[in-house]
């Protein structure tokens, strides 16, 4: 395929997600996803390590849900698990302290309503 054709194809296929769907329902989901990929690209951890952490977190949820009635379970929130898997891996690697994290979450939660988020 010539490069000219590549350019044409790119134009024809705009917007790119027309063949898919919106990939992040909330901006924070994109941030968490972006953090995990950027950390793996920076070789802070290997992608396979993150994947194992995600498999563990999702597996815990699957087992929890299997032991309950449908109406007790609630909606499955994939990016909550994704986020938990990232925190878990960073704590395991001593790159994040749970104490620092809880403190920071508490600080940010205490901001006055209407605070302008940085993203």
């Amino acid at each position: 395929m010539t490069s000219e054709m590549n350019i044409e194809l790119d134009e024809v296929l705009q917007p790119p997600m027309a063949n898919g769907e919106v990939i992040f329902e909330e901006p924070w989901q994109g941030r968490v996803f972006g953090m995990a990929v950027a950390l793996s690209r920076a070789e802070v951890f290997m992608w396979s390590e993150f994947q194992q952490s995600l498999i563990d977190v999702v597996g815990d949820w699957d087992r929890w849900a299997a032991a309950r009635q449908a109406d007790e379970i609630g909606t499955y929130q994939y990016y909550e698990h994704f986020s938990k898997a990232l925190n878990k891996l960073l704590v395991e690697k001593s790159l994040l302290s749970e104490q620092d994290y809880s403190t920071r979450v508490a600080e940010f939660s205490a901001r006055p309503h209407g605070h302008d988020h940085s993203h």
């Binding site: 044409e8 024809v12 968490v32 996803f33 950027a38 999702v58 920071r104």
Partner: protein, 193 residues
């Protein structure tokens, strides 16, 4: 947990990682932009279109998809190994990741929400034909269904069957008609698309 709490948690984590020098916020922006704009099922559609038009490419793709797609120079492939499975008159292929959300990012982008949901992950293995019917796919009883469970090491993509009336179309026209769902195996492409 409400979205605003989830957002605060994400922001707290990001601020700590940036302070520690582990992350640059611009790198996060770059990843989001890449997956929003340049990586998606339009890439897989180009691969399928080429395989339909070019028999030599198709045989390389079926033998070793990871190497065969190198010429496209797709970005975003945290793909260890890509395997393409071909739908035929005898077999219909369907892809899942029962453990989490493994998916061939470089060719299909990020997975749709339903792909990651527990219902799809568990039911597709148990009752693939029922799940397919819910997606609107009615298969002849004689057709075999094969379910491929993606893993951290191997990602699968389906090579759908080409509708007869598309035979005269060029790669570009074909690529614009090939859908994401057909490359996961939950859709059969039809003449009237």
């Amino acid at each position: 947990m409400s979205d605003s709490q989830a957002a605060i948690r994400a922001e707290a984590l990001e601020s700590l990682l940036v302070e520690k020098g582990l992350l640059d916020p611009n790198d996060i922006d770059a990843v989001i932009e890449l997956y929003n704009e340049r990586v998606g099922p339009m890439n897989g559609a180009r691969v399928v279109a080429k395989a339909w038009r070019d028999a030599q490419f198709k045989s390389r793709l079926m033998a070793d998809a990871t190497s065969a797609i190198e010429e496209f120079e797709f970005e975003g492939g945290e793909v260890q190994k890509l395997v393409v499975v071909e739908n035929t008159d005898e077999v219909h292929n369907l892809v899942v990741c029962t453990l989490c959300s493994c998916y061939p990012w470089a060719v299909l982008g990020l997975p749709p929400k339903w792909y990651k949901d527990p219902a799809y992950r568990s039911r597709v293995v148990r009752e693939p034909r029922v799940v397919l019917t819910e997606f609107g796919v009615q298969l002849a009883a004689s057709k075999k269904v094969r379910v491929w469970d993606s893993s951290a090491e191997i990602r699968y993509m389906v090579l759908p069957q080409q509708p007869q009336t598309w035979l005269g179309l060029d790669e570009q026209a074909l690529a614009s008609k090939i859908t994401r769902d057909s490359m996961i195996g939950v859709e059969v492409l039809t003449d009237d698309l």
